[in-house]
Symmetry: C2
DNA sequence: CTGTATCCTTGTTGATACTG
DNA sequence: CAGTATCAACAAGGATACAG
């Protein structure tokens, strides 16, 4: 997977309905973006579209604060800043992988349940083999 | 662990700072509460203190909608409602266990990084072995 | 007992514009 | 390029009261 692919986190991506979240809304995306090496601020903005610079900065600061990433400023012009995963941050990759595996296996079941739930709406039947029905 | 222990989710519990969340704020607690068998509405309220009935109902409905739990109403007086994990809901227990294992292993590191970050505040030094320093 | 109904506070996200 | 500042919008969560 290309961490610079603009469609890496397309709205249709399962992560939209995933019941698991690492940190806030954007953290996991950023972690995955940095998997293959350091990235610059503007490089991260590409796949993580929708995140304004403000939100991106907020999230990056929080990750830095928690020791997940490092922030390195190079005294060049134009300025260059690189973000890189720490060993601690890399441990999150494994966790994300586990979550993805869960999604691959169980998300279809979840979505089916959700659809079935909407379908009955307020009509008869109960989820369980219930002895009594909820009017 | 006793799923009816009022202090099961004490504020000092690591889950307060955990960067991983299953669903919303209360879902994971509820899932764990139901691990050992069906529970009634008021039984769930005990360990999940802080959740008002409104929020608890919301969360339970969402979990039911997604096929994680079943809701069974018994036509008794006083009314009795039991919530129970589905097989799908039980798969979340494994996921939660993985997250807990991550926390046991890495949360101290995270907290240390956080403390170190606060300590420097805006003083010298950089997180990375940075060649240049951020003024 | 098991919820609903209202109202309100707060935190989070987003849009837009501007700076070193 | 890499942010910061400011304001607006929204959704989640909580307090309180009440109903079937």
């Amino acid at each position: 997977m290309d961490p610079l692919d603009p469609d890496m986190f397309h709205p249709a991506c399962p992560s939209s309905v995933m019941p698991i979240r690492i940190g806030d809304k954007w953290s996991a995306m950023i972690i995955v973006c940095l998997e293959q090496g350091p990235r610059r601020f503007s490089e991260i903005r590409v796949p993580v579209h929708g995140a304004t610079p403000k939100v991106l900065t907020q999230t990056l600061r929080a990750l830095e604060r928690d020791g997940m990433i490092t922030r390195t400023v190079y005294a060049e012009v134009p300025p260059r800043v690189e973000y890189e995963l720490t060993p601690l941050g890399r441990t999150l990759l494994e966790l994300i992988a586990v979550c993805r595996a869960w999604a691959d296996e169980h998300l279809p079941t979840l979505l089916a349940a959700r659809e079935a739930y909407e379908d009955r709406g307020s009509t008869p039947g109960s989820t369980a083999p219930a002895p009594f029905v909820d009017p």
